[in-house]
Subunit: 223 residues, 4 copies
């Protein structure tokens, strides 16, 4: 085994625990992947394995067509979607998929989450958009993700009747987007239960997003 | 003690902790049972015992009429219902009962959870149906479960004004169905608070369910 | 120190952790007390002390007028209400007070929780009733609790605009009632968000309650 | 390093764990600061650092213009707002900022939380007010907080479309206010989902608030 992949195996394995910690997943649903920098490879969760049993060694290495290169188990059944994203969005280094509750509630209605919180402007810079209904089994899901996110500020897409996919410069950034997506989907949902949230002016959204993506956090970018 | 029953005692005891972990139960409510393969026996939780005090040794072995064969405590007050299911559905190897919040909220209105999420199509293949109102004390509950689930894809039934019963090929599969049932009951409830979830075409439900039940997970079936 | 009181100090201290576990309390709100059998004494939580710092030794022993008999701290500011209950309801051995979320939501509207779940019929045998608005500082709260619960099956009362008080044969039973009260208040609330829960016939409520109070659990009564 | 600042570094670091425990924050959002008594200094969280990695040593010491005096990282991006509060409200010894869900849901509608619970009268003595929409980057947020809270009993303000700021005589009191703010924002929200909470007479609010601020808890004030 070469070292960079071992490091990524560990990162991907560990990041799955963040999905558990923030209650974005139940049972074996949800998955995180990371691109292996400089190679046409990705590391992804095995299919149907419990979060308690995930270890760096259990992670699967696939090529960017989703074919297993290294690993004793089958890869996540969402591998084709992850692979499609890596093939078509070269700046993406990590992909996350969850069925987190509030995000799915918006996705089930096919409704975007409007950008009505400053924290949403920071992280998403816009509404969280809806992607098409797509069946598993071919490129439909991956294409839906890429078509929706390619020219969008948001690193998250609500796939209709299905769940959330998020992207980031690395797997940690994609996990952060998944955590924030559920957080704002929940807050905006609850706010709307008793009335209409106030809009935020587009110029303010732009200013907040620009500052957050360029100034927030320590030296290295937060996203 | 013979070994296969000891193994099942441990499995049933451990699986109760999953009900706690996923917050499907409070105090002593809820119970898991497993059929002892090849014998007319089942292993079930003792009645009114706290989840902290459950051990493999505390589990009760009953025959399929619900009569205690081995165990120092009284069995769960839902034993008759579990036993009825094992007598009438020979393919069932595990049964779970909970009063999980969102599933009970649908059950209290006597309303089925519509199949509007791909994860629901995967696991349930249909709406989660409602069973009759039935009092404890005779075969009514067991009969209500069996009559509702016998020709239904769903491994979960919402017993009117009461709670959820799920079945599976083994106890773990029944626990998974209980976890997924609460998860989708919650998501669909929340989605409906702000509008109507989009329907999923029956052909798509069929395709998703077929793939999930036959392809998902590692070699052995996920359900 | 005499032994029976030490045992009760430990029980009362430990039972406060159940309030934390079931998320019925935040910060220092909420309290549990127990009558010392055969003596005109009760053991109660100190005022304004964090749940992490509660120990058996920190518990306060008061007489049934709420005067401190033993203890370095001030007793809970709800001591007068607990004491009033012990003076007027001799069968009560434990009292619990919380501001648990869903129960308080009903209390803030001054609305009883209707008995529409079999688990509610089991534990409460009726709706969970509303007591009067009462200010802290004299016997008003205690009197409101006693007047509401004296001829009621329910071991829980929703004090208007305030919170929940529960009683039991001992402190554990009162804690159980507090846990179940929040659980059913939550489930019925959620059910009503999307329609009206089905009523349960009075004869069925009576039958369920009778069985549960006399048959459920192991030898000793569950409540 | 001088000792009093080391103590405050530890307090501020530890209090961030209360934000996590009460689920007021996700990822790196939210921050706690404390004034250094007798000096024109404050201690605050570093920007964009995970709650798992916070240590007393990682905390940043700033002057009351928000300039870093000691610390290897950048301070919280909300430092200017905290500093403004310390400069203009000399009785304030601690400030907390969160995006807690229910409080933000009210803030997103620009709606104050009405004082309809006795626990709210205790801690807040009034509605929880709304402050203006303000962009990060200058004194707008700090000024909005101070203008809203200066003559208000409430230690919490809902900044429009943004989140909560709370103040206290020390950092622990400000954290308590943040915890209670989310708790009552949640309970009142849920209550209003099914009708209108009953009002509490102003004289009762006054009496409750006076008693709680002067009598509750042990010798030292609870707030």
């Amino acid at each position: 085994m070469n070292d960079p992949i071992d490091l990524i195996r560990r990162q991907v394995s560990d990041l799955h625990q963040e999905l558990v910690r923030y209650q974005l997943v139940v049972w074996t649903a949800g998955n995180v992947s990371a691109r292996v920098p400089g190679e046409d490879l990705m590391v992804i969760k095995p299919s149907g394995v419990s979060y308690d049993e995930l270890t760096p060694e259990a992670m699967i290495v696939c090529d960017l067509d989703g074919k297993v290169v290294e690993g004793a188990h089958s890869p996540s059944s969402d591998t084709a979607a992850h692979a499609y994203v890596y093939r078509h969005l070269p700046e993406v280094g990590g992909v996350v998929h969850t069925h987190s509750t509030y995000a799915c509630a918006w996705a089930a209605r096919g409704e975007a989450v409007p950008c009505v919180l400053t924290a949403m402007a920071d992280e998403f810079g816009a509404e969280i958009p809806v992607g098409p209904f797509a069946l598993i089994g071919d490129d439909s899901i991956g294409r839906g993700i890429v078509d929706t996110l390619r020219d969008h500020r948001s690193p998250a897409v609500l796939m209709k009747s299905h769940g959330v996919f998020t992207v980031g410069k690395d797997a940690k950034a994609a996990v952060k987007a998944a955590v924030m997506c559920e957080d704002v989907a929940r807050t905006v949902h609850i706010s709307r239960q008793l009335g209409e949230p106030l809009p935020i002016a587009q110029a303010h959204i732009d200013a907040l997003n620009h500052r957050y993506q360029h100034v927030y956090g320590q030296q290295s970018a937060a996203r």
